[in-house]
Subunit: 372 residues, 4 copies
Amino acid sequence: MDSGSTCSLVLHATETGDGEEPRQANRRYKDPRIALEQRTLQPLHPGSLRLQILRVGLCGTDLHMTQRDPLGFVRSSAPASIPAQGRVLGHEGIGRVIAIGADVTRFRVGDIVAPESVLSCGACRCCRSGAFNQCLDARLLGMEKDGLFAAIADVPARSAVGIGRLAESERGLQMAACLEPAGVALLACRKTQMAPGERVLVFGAGPIGLLSAMMARRLHGAAQVCVVEPSAYRREFAAAWADQVAASAEALEIPDGGWDVVVEASGALANVDAVFRQIAPGGRVALLGRGGQPLRIGAVDHMITNAISVMGLRGHLGGVYERLIDLCLSGVLPLDRIVSTTIEGLERLRSVLEHPDDIAGGDCKIVVKLAD
Amino acid sequence: MDSGSTCSLVLHATETGDGEEPRQANRRYKDPRIALEQRTLQPLHPGSLRLQILRVGLCGTDLHMTQRDPLGFVRSSAPASIPAQGRVLGHEGIGRVIAIGADVTRFRVGDIVAPESVLSCGACRCCRSGAFNQCLDARLLGMEKDGLFAAIADVPARSAVGIGRLAESERGLQMAACLEPAGVALLACRKTQMAPGERVLVFGAGPIGLLSAMMARRLHGAAQVCVVEPSAYRREFAAAWADQVAASAEALEIPDGGWDVVVEASGALANVDAVFRQIAPGGRVALLGRGGQPLRIGAVDHMITNAISVMGLRGHLGGVYERLIDLCLSGVLPLDRIVSTTIEGLERLRSVLEHPDDIAGGDCKIVVKLAD
Amino acid sequence: MDSGSTCSLVLHATETGDGEEPRQANRRYKDPRIALEQRTLQPLHPGSLRLQILRVGLCGTDLHMTQRDPLGFVRSSAPASIPAQGRVLGHEGIGRVIAIGADVTRFRVGDIVAPESVLSCGACRCCRSGAFNQCLDARLLGMEKDGLFAAIADVPARSAVGIGRLAESERGLQMAACLEPAGVALLACRKTQMAPGERVLVFGAGPIGLLSAMMARRLHGAAQVCVVEPSAYRREFAAAWADQVAASAEALEIPDGGWDVVVEASGALANVDAVFRQIAPGGRVALLGRGGQPLRIGAVDHMITNAISVMGLRGHLGGVYERLIDLCLSGVLPLDRIVSTTIEGLERLRSVLEHPDDIAGGDCKIVVKLAD
Amino acid sequence: MDSGSTCSLVLHATETGDGEEPRQANRRYKDPRIALEQRTLQPLHPGSLRLQILRVGLCGTDLHMTQRDPLGFVRSSAPASIPAQGRVLGHEGIGRVIAIGADVTRFRVGDIVAPESVLSCGACRCCRSGAFNQCLDARLLGMEKDGLFAAIADVPARSAVGIGRLAESERGLQMAACLEPAGVALLACRKTQMAPGERVLVFGAGPIGLLSAMMARRLHGAAQVCVVEPSAYRREFAAAWADQVAASAEALEIPDGGWDVVVEASGALANVDAVFRQIAPGGRVALLGRGGQPLRIGAVDHMITNAISVMGLRGHLGGVYERLIDLCLSGVLPLDRIVSTTIEGLERLRSVLEHPDDIAGGDCKIVVKLAD
């Protein structure tokens, strides 16, 4: 393995001067385009790991970073920076350690690890209080720092977690490749304090929505899980974890007493407004999907009378990869069941990103195999 | 004391047929008007207490029930029902027990008690799980059941709390008359999990806002309390509990790191949208004031990135009157300091309700003395 | 059905004068003995339901109430009172409503209901704050108030919950008969804040221990559930819900990092001391079983360094029967799988109580069928 | 300022071979003795700060490290290691940055900082989940790593917090010197979920106990704060923050309903057992003081019936120094009011440690001034 250079999938875009909201990609970058490029590897940072990437997951955000909105801006509204030399995408995946920074002691060459996607600083007010996913100096892997869509990538050892015995089987590797979205879904379940016997409504059966449904069922004892998803293909995946699956909320039978928890993982915030009066007293709504539009809640009197909470959430709690790995190993959480398609190689990944309608729109999780 | 009839302040309004949202007063009732009337006392229910009312508090909702909006409807959007014979207003206050229902054992004639304003059923799903303020069959005193603006009123013993040694002084009685709004403010502080060292922004220096500021300071260890209030008179009251008081949010110095908690007690939800980007990671917003308009949050990306919650709240937690009474007695919580004006008699109260601009608009808490 | 009298299983004991700790049965009563007796039914209280009892569950406490310790006292240390006419035992079960008190509106004749076992007053400081299971005036059904081991029994409507569609099948009735211990086990899981991916150790595979294991697995996403139980017969039942089952804690493989949650449901508190150093940082211990002996924790330095909590718990949270019923109906929680033996009739129940070694010692949950 | 060497107060002890419990100092070290020594400074670690120590606080643990128990072992049971060259004591204090490690960017020479006392690794399972005070590889400053009782000391930048405007006054420096015990007391208040209107009993009016009382009053809205402390001198300090102060628990008037929270900060665990039956339903007990003896709770039935929790706690939550500094600056928390004595210089400190009965036994917080 040559440490001099590596093949990478790079996003380029034209910076449009004076964005007023600097952490919103779609206000700054126009005309996104991607290319496979050979990139020179920099010297390994003392606190980092060099990884041969084995599996990566394709996220909706990756697609939205390569697409343009009607005005020509990058469609995604997630924080991102795209420097002149381009940005290597990819924030989900696993890799084998091939070199270790001078200060790293917890890992060895050969370990297979999953990097976290929110690279926290460890020193800001939020990190110091343990809220790593709210790090004030967070760098999103594959968005604000070069990511995992590459043969070789460096990641901070602080944010890497060994996948342990998941490395022993192909299925384990698939599950490990899904740890990042699993962390996001678990955050939604934890922060909404989803409790045994509750009724949960999930909007969107993309990976986050599917995982939220799976976790509501398997980890939180929901009495009823319902999923709303326009794509028929995705609805099939959701059926395994839901009591009701429907193309729109109108088609659902509302449980007696209403929804205790609503997980909005589709990016269409209007969904929340549409079902707000169906939410039970003490209900909680998690907003995970970024759609760019404002939140509007018409039924404010219902919200006040019934003490309903709406919360934004991103990333995952510290320490959950370890917990998720244990849950995969114990058989409680079959993360690989969100994987709808496995493809091979960066060239094939480039093709999917360029022509997402061929495959990705109606798909669930696409995992890309880059090496054995 | 004649138990045959009692003088009461009664709200009349014209019901307008087929309201689509039956629990919103202002969609059903037009042309509100008030009158002092002599009402016959009904036989005392076995589970109730008959009270000689000593002090009542005037709430913004009382004013809004007697006012009309531009279309002529009752201005308040809080749940209410106004029967043909009218509704006795008043949900804050204290009274002396003058008769006791056959099944009541916890009280004696002569006790001075404070009734809770949300009369919970004790049997619905919410009550059975202890969330009395979300009772599915709640009846709001003075809104859905005849209230305290009367010489004599009956209340369920279940919802009455003895004020103990607060009865021993005039100041204690004043404090006890403020228990109801204090319960509401405490709910906001508790449910937002206001924690030591946090920065708290309160919109509105009416009684609920003032009490929220006082409690942020005295009960929750806020490091900074700031209040926004257009009325100069009310700002003077707020100054005792706030580091900064301003007529508008723009005039405030934003704390380094942003607001941890925002309490919206003005009813103008647009305030929340206006300061949303100033809210700190992990921040929480409590909506207490009903303004009738929808909630709109433009900065959804900020909300998601920073895990900010917005929660509606009403009423108070079970068992807090007892805690608040202890806090009054211990000197920690000088509830009477929100009282800006004390008036005497139902006739004077009627006059204030009919001509609120003379006194109430710029006032804080008005307490009405009805008996010694 | 004659409403004049009913056959009941009654516990008699000799009161021994001046117990210093009046709520501990075993300091007051000696020489317990049981008998089947025909008892006259009292007039139905306006707030009560009269039930034809269909199924009852036998609890370890029932056995301990009928047994004597080496000094001849009643063995159980749970709160109890045994009046001169004796006490009808039984706090788990379901019945069909055959008459309704004058004030009851929520039930109809023919409904099948499950009474809660802790009869809360609804008015004390604890009840008013929603902590019904800590009611200061609690009366334990079948311990401080006549219970369900009878053909007909009266219970307060406030504490009865309709079992809904569980009434439609024999299996549903079995599950409903297990609601009471299920509420206790759920309390342990909820109060210890058992979280996804955690490692749970349960002492005792009696009904409460089994249910705790089942819930750790099915409702709380435990990554590892281990059960310690001396009885081989009970260990077989536990195997369905546990990764490891052993006759003693020494035989278990301790998970890497230690136990996150320990549920002590065997009544032998020394178990907790024995494994205390195996408890993980932030670990929580729930004490459910009363054994009469003091709690001793030798590893206090470990407890302080690792922020470990030990909590006593009894009864169940308000509103959980409804949740548990939904979970039974949804198939998530097969409560009937703790039932090891079903017997028929009060006479057979009396026999089991008198000769527990024949059957009960090594048994799990015994359900008694009293009517169809 | 010579960077070659520094004067330090060093603890020596004789290691006694094969301690079975390696993290308990008093099972490994005998015959402690202290000396002022000139120590060579090591090269500054890239991640560390070199501090000129300005103020240090003397903790009971420091005293117990220098004293012997009846068997001749070091009296303290807190984790400690005493290498051959001795251990520099001191885990409370502040210093001025005089040199900065190569990798440190957040600080500048001249900043005044407070180091945390639990040096967390940032990488273990506990740290990764934000529970820094439960770090599996924690090193206690002044116990397992050389501490602050020196003219110059190095500390990891990760664990240092700038004291900001507290540096501008002598009083501010005194308050900053008390941040470490304040963090411990705040942990007790937070983890016991001390809530407005509760009744709090504190054992011990040493610094931690005093601060717990101050915080119960000022930050958590306790309705009643009571302190038990044998030393009359310390009781005077406690009086400012307590409703009742007594030499023993028997002398206290027990509040109606009992204690909601008990903070054990005296190290005498038998105190907890003695008052256990006075604890209210839902009560919580925090164990902060290490006394070496086991915990025994006789009233286990009371504990179970009333759902009482007992929790060990150590260190402080991440991010609280910043909050505490804000609270000092805002005037809410006058930390300096626990300082009973200020002395100057390491030589004087050595003398106090050698002859604690002259001064320290009955004292509260002793702050040592080492430089301006």
